[in-house]
Amino acid sequence: MTEPSPHFFSQLGFDFAVLPDDRFVGTAKVQPTLCIPGTVVPRPSMLATYADIAIGFPAANRFGFPAPTLDLSMHVFRTPTAADLSMEAKLVKVGKRVIVGECWFTADGEDDPYAVCVATFFTTAEPLSEEWRTPTADNPMFSPRQDLPEPIADRAGIHTHAPGSVEVQLAPHISNGTTVQGGIVALLAERACESALGDDGRHAVTGIDLRYLSALRAGPARATAEPLRSDDQGSHFWVEITDAGDDDRLIVHGLVTARPL
């Protein structure tokens, strides 16, 4: 019998701490298989994964309720010189129903950040169990750290359905316990755009603006990227992700930008 894939969180090379003032500081040893192929640039979707955790954990702490992601914008505005990175997140709005946080990423050996993520989380009506504690870096979710010998998109099970259209099935190693983890959803959107660009290896996604509308129930999740503009400077894509097994019910909408490498 095949060994089940470890949860992809354990392959993030993540070390972090949630500070008492709701700040989150962390570092990551980013494996090449989490990077844009042929570069030391972490995939924006993987940065989104770190940020989803870095903002989501303090948000859930504050609410005392699970805090699903409502939207997430990831902006990579400069090319880092190293894959390994540090991050710092803080909550910038704490309301009764929504929390907004931002997370800044800095490459090892650099002083200035090269990417920022802003995300909104909202409360659910289900209080966290009394046993719930903010996971720490040595939590089984993240530890022991696992090697990832194949590209994260392959490990996640993402496959190309047609040019500009990719799919993934919900599986335990990419789940958040309810549906596909938000970072893998971002990866699905990213892969759809790469596919639309012909997987030519000459373009990279630099911006992802996602709205999480509903959960995947039947699956697979299918992402379709439609180019809105494309020229020498880059491209804009509109991405729709649907639950293909549930009458193509819309689950995520996104605007993705790509630039030449």
Partner: protein, 269 residues
């Protein structure tokens, strides 16, 4: 007290609600475009989207629906200043709704810009019930000619490079008495523009605005920081604070620009 017409009266915002299908038509005056260009300001498109999508969400909730966040993406310059808008719900939750708005130029089929915004339901007290009558009042007046740039009329002043301010005035507030979300988007856009020199002007083509709180005292001050810039485009981070309230954070925004030369040289398909 300001005797200017409300800024929305300059937008030529002819909206329509056909049984929940919200559309609009607008002719954008030159004073609503980015300086020296025919690009409608991203902040102005934010005003349209915030109004149309906001009306739609407010009708759905039955209460005013303040904006949580708003992203505007302009892919290319429209060949006409007559615009058609269409909003639809992406999400209709109990307390949060998400609206997308697409912008298409007259004579074209493909959109040149789009916006997505999240809106939150307010408490359901009777005095907060939403009525489209509020919007109807604004629509009932003929479009007012705006003979000066919208940023000037709004009262936005440059206090230093990359730093601009605005005070709340009757002609720039929203239905709940605070600076309109579209005006705050315009403020962030102006902060970004003022971060570039006259020799290297940029047009804002993308805004990702997060509304953190309402400015209560004012003036609201926006400071832009250029995160990356090259001869063709740039990325900027903007923070808006309420200077009269201990610099309390009001808005955080990420902006994308194109150098005006590159933007003007772009041929519409």
């Amino acid at each position: 007290m300001s005797d200017h017409p409300h800024f929305s009266e300059h937008l030529d915002f002819r909206w329509n609600n056909d049984d929940g299908h919200f559309t609009a038509r607008a002719e954008v005056q030159p004073t609503l475009c980015a300086p020296g260009t025919e690009w409608p300001r991203a902040g102005v498109l934010a005003m349209y989207a915030d109004n149309l999508g906001g009306f739609m969400c407010s009708v759905g909730f039955g209460t005013p629906a303040p904006t949580l966040d708003l992203s505007v993406h302009v892919f290319r310059r429209p060949p006409s200043r007559v615009l058609h808008l269409e909003s639809r719900h992406l999400r209709k939750g109990r307390s949060i709704a998400v609206a997308e708005t697409w912008f298409t130029a007259e004579g074209e089929d493909e959109p040149f810009a789009m916006a997505v915004a999240s809106h939150m339901k307010m408490g359901d007290r009777a005095e907060r019930k939403f009525s489209l009558g509020y919007a109807e009042v604004r629509r009932a007046k003929p479009t007012a000619i705006l003979d000066e740039p919208i940023e000037t009329r709004a009262g936005i002043t440059v206090v230093a490079p990359a730093t601009v301010e605005i005070a709340a005035a009757p002609h720039v507030i929203n239905g709940i008495g605070t600076l309109h979300g579209g005006v705050l988007a315009l403020l962030t856009e102006r902060a970004v523009e003022s971060a570039f020199t006259d020799d290297d002007p940029h047009v804002v083509t993308g805004l990702d605005v997060r509304y953190l709180s309402s400015p209560r005292i004012g003036p609201a001050r926006a400071v832009a920081n250029v995160l990356r810039g090259d001869p063709t485009d740039a990325h900027c981070w903007v923070e808006v604070v309420d200077t009269g309230d201990g610099d309390r954070p009001v808005v955080h925004a990420f902006a994308t620009t194109r150098a005006r030369g590159a933007a003007q040289g772009e041929e519409a398909p």
